[in-house]
């Protein structure tokens, strides 16, 4: 479904992503793991059409990002790492904007917003201002905002960062519900147990290169657990000051 071929991105002298290639099948959930500065967010930005690759290609089905970015964007939903919400507005008003950006309006927008709010468990809080929400509720609404246009591929950039275990569990439930609906998920995280629970396959990225691309089961068989695989492949050196 998603094909990434020889994808590269450079920021000044620094090569953030170095000619990586991978594919994700329809309905698959893939974890994109890596230490700080590995290039995870840059990969997500290029797949979602936010950042232009310096080389290589991204295609979704038969749509090439470089040829028809808008068509690709209509099939991709992005859950950014930073909360993409207006605190001053209600949950409903936020979703009305995000749906509108994809050309949704009227009854179809209302129906999809209701579905998205129900999925993340916020249907009864739709008219409350986001600033009154807890961190976990904001993270769930952040996910709902990416679902309105019914994307085939959902890109989640550390969707559980900074939330308590209860909220994290609720988010897992949301993602599993999406998985059961046949959605394709690409998921970045620092938490190995999340990847173990949710992902079919894992890509381990470091220094802009893919170090491993295998199923969770195989990696666990080979290294004992994902944490061990991650540390063995990426090393123990600190990544202070690393970006992207």
């Amino acid at each position: 479904m998603l094909q990434v071929e020889q994808l590269s991105k450079r920021y000044g002298d620094r090569l953030a992503v170095d000619a990586i290639s991978f594919a994700i099948g329809e309905g698959e959930t893939v974890g994109l793991l890596g230490p700080n500065g590995a290039g995870k967010t840059t990969v997500i930005a290029m797949i979602s059409g936010i950042a232009q690759p310096d080389g290589g290609q991204v295609s979704l089905g038969d749509v090439l990002v470089t040829k028809d970015a808008d068509a690709l964007k209509r099939r991709v939903g992005l859950v950014p790492q930073d909360l993409a919400l207006y605190d001053e507005l209600s949950a409903w008003a936020n979703l009305q904007l995000f749906g509108g950006l994809y050309g949704l309006g009227g009854d179809s927008l209302r129906r999809r917003a209701d579905d998205a709010l129900a999925l993340v468990g916020l249907a009864d809080r739709r008219n409350e201002r986001v600033k009154n929400f807890s961190g976990g509720m904001k993270r769930r609404l952040n996910i709902a905002g990416a679902l309105l246009h019914d994307p085939d591929l959902i890109l989640l950039d550390e969707p559980t960062v900074g939330v308590d275990p209860q909220s994290r569990n609720a988010i897992f439930d949301n993602l599993e519900a999406l998985k059961s609906r046949g959605k394709t998920l690409l998921y970045t995280t620092h938490y190995m147990e999340e990847a173990e629970r949710l992902c079919d396959r894992v890509l381990i990225l470091d220094g802009g290169r893919i170090l491993a691309n295998d199923s969770v089961v195989k990696l666990m068989q080979q290294y004992g657990n994902l944490e061990a695989a991650f540390m063995q492949l990426t090393g123990h050196a600190l990544r202070d000051g690393a970006e992207a």
Binding site: I50, K73, P80, Q81, D82, L89, Q96, L101, G105
Partner: protein, 433 residues
């Protein structure tokens, strides 16, 4: 063109604006209050006769018929608000800024002034104590004092009791001197005045009237001052100008807020979501432009609604011109806000610099005080400020009562400046990462 997305962005910006009640209050209520203050200070609706009177003190140490008459004339003048005080109180009043000036009539002022009218010698001195911070007030007082003094002194000299005695003394003095053609003519003039007085006294006595203080020299013309406003019957309403100025100022400040909001949006996750949507750069810029224009028009409408309902500001000229200037200015404001957002880097610095630039533009644009009080060079320079054209355009459509033709140039300048700001904004706008 993704019109649904554009409408969604506009609706969202409107919601964000109305969600911040403080911004709405600052943008609407504060300009109304400040415009009300400026309008009142500069004369209000023109119906309050006390507004704008110059406060002065009169110190009458003479207490003669002449000094009392001049004091009475000054008190009756519509330009002045006269308080009679002693010299110490008058000086203290001027020093404290309560009086613009004080006129002191010394002892024997009436007698000496009347005598000096004939002799030209030993003129008494009227002391004027003036507040140096006041420029126009003391000049007005000097002029009125000269007018009323000539009127009352000449009246006393030719028809008053003291004046008649002085005239008799002067004739006696002339008789003692060497006879010349000039002294003979002067004697004839004074004797004619004496005979005229005697005849008037006789006529007044027969009618049972007071024969004292008949005529004096007066200004041999009268002036009819007509306020050249929209209609002859419509007095100048200074609220019309103050509301134009404050609407321009506070709408511009709100435009900066819109620009800063855009800068802040870039630093939040919301920017990534906008960028990941099938939204073009041109659609995003258009939505921002229209949203800020609509918000500015909302402010503009409420401010002028208050001006019309409470402060009797009327559109005496072209409604179309008024609407055209208003819309063109709101468009300029939106483009200015966009330009600020694309040129700025951090929100606090951008807000500070843009506010400073706006206040300068507003100040030299004549929004605080009308541009015609500026020095000539500044009046010329202010024509380069779009705020001047906005204020002049709104003044023209309101109290000046000018037709649509006169609004065309301000509208053209405002739209032209908006186009320049928009061009810079489009050029500098970073959409791609």
């Amino acid at each position: 063109m993704n019109t649904v997305a554009i409408v969604a962005l506009i609706r969202n910006d409107m919601r964000l604006y109305f969600a911040d009640r403080r911004a709405v209050i600052v943008g609407v209520l504060v300009p109304i209050l400040i415009a009300a203050f400026f309008g009142y200070v500069f004369g209000g609706t023109g119906r309050n006769e006390d507004a704008g009177r110059i406060p002065i003190a009169v110190v009458d140490e003479d207490q003669s018929a002449v000094s009392r008459a001049i004091t009475s004339d000054l008190s009756a003048d519509k330009l002045l608000q006269v308080t009679v005080l002693d010299r110490a109180a008058a000086r203290a009043g001027v020093k404290a800024g309560k009086q613009n000036a004080a006129a002191v009539f010394p002892k024997r002022f009436g007698e000496q002034a009347t005598r000096a009218l004939f002799s030209g010698r030993d003129k008494p001195q009227v002391v004027l104590l003036v507040d140096p911070s006041q420029i126009a007030g003391p000049r007005v007082i000097e002029g009125l004092l000269a007018q009323y003094s000539m009127q009352e002194i000449s009246k006393e000299a030719f028809t008053g009791d003291a004046g008649r005695k002085i005239m008799d003394d002067f004739v006696t003095d002339l008789d003692r001197r060497e006879q010349t053609a000039t002294s003979a003519d002067l004697r004839t003039l004074l004797q004619s005045a004496r005979r005229l007085n005697e005849r008037r006294d006789g006529a007044a006595g027969a009618a049972g009237a007071d024969p004292q203080r008949g005529f004096g020299l007066t200004i041999p013309y009268t002036t009819a001052s007509t306020q050249v406003t929209a209609r002859d019957s419509a007095p100048y309403n200074s609220y019309a100008h103050s509301f134009a100025g404050m609407a321009v100022q506070f709408i511009l400040l709100a435009g900066i807020d819109a620009g800063v909001l855009l800068l802040l949006t870039r630093q939040r996750g919301i920017w990534q979501r906008l960028r990941s949507a099938p939204l073009r750069r041109s659609e995003f810029i258009l939505a921002r432009l229209l949203a800020t224009t609509l918000i500015s028009l909302f402010q503009f409408t409420l401010i002028y609604l208050a001006a019309a309902l409470v402060f009797r500001v009327r559109i005496e000229g072209s409604w179309l011109g008024f609407a055209g200037v208003g819309i063109a200015f709101c468009l300029l404001n939106a483009a200015f806000g966009l330009m600020v957002a694309t040129l700025g880097r951090s929100a606090p610095t951008t807000r500070g610099l843009a506010n400073m630039a706006t206040l300068l533009l507003v100040m030299i644009g004549g929004a605080w005080v009308p541009a015609f009080v500026f020095p000539r060079w500044l009046q010329s320079a202010s024509l380069y400020a779009p705020t001047r054209w906005a204020v002049d355009g709104l003044d023209g459509a309101t109290w000046r009562g000018l037709p649509f033709d006169s609004a065309i140039l301000p509208i053209t300048v405002l739209i032209g400046t908006a186009a320049v700001c928009l061009t810079v904004a489009i050029w500098r706008f970073r959409w791609e990462e």
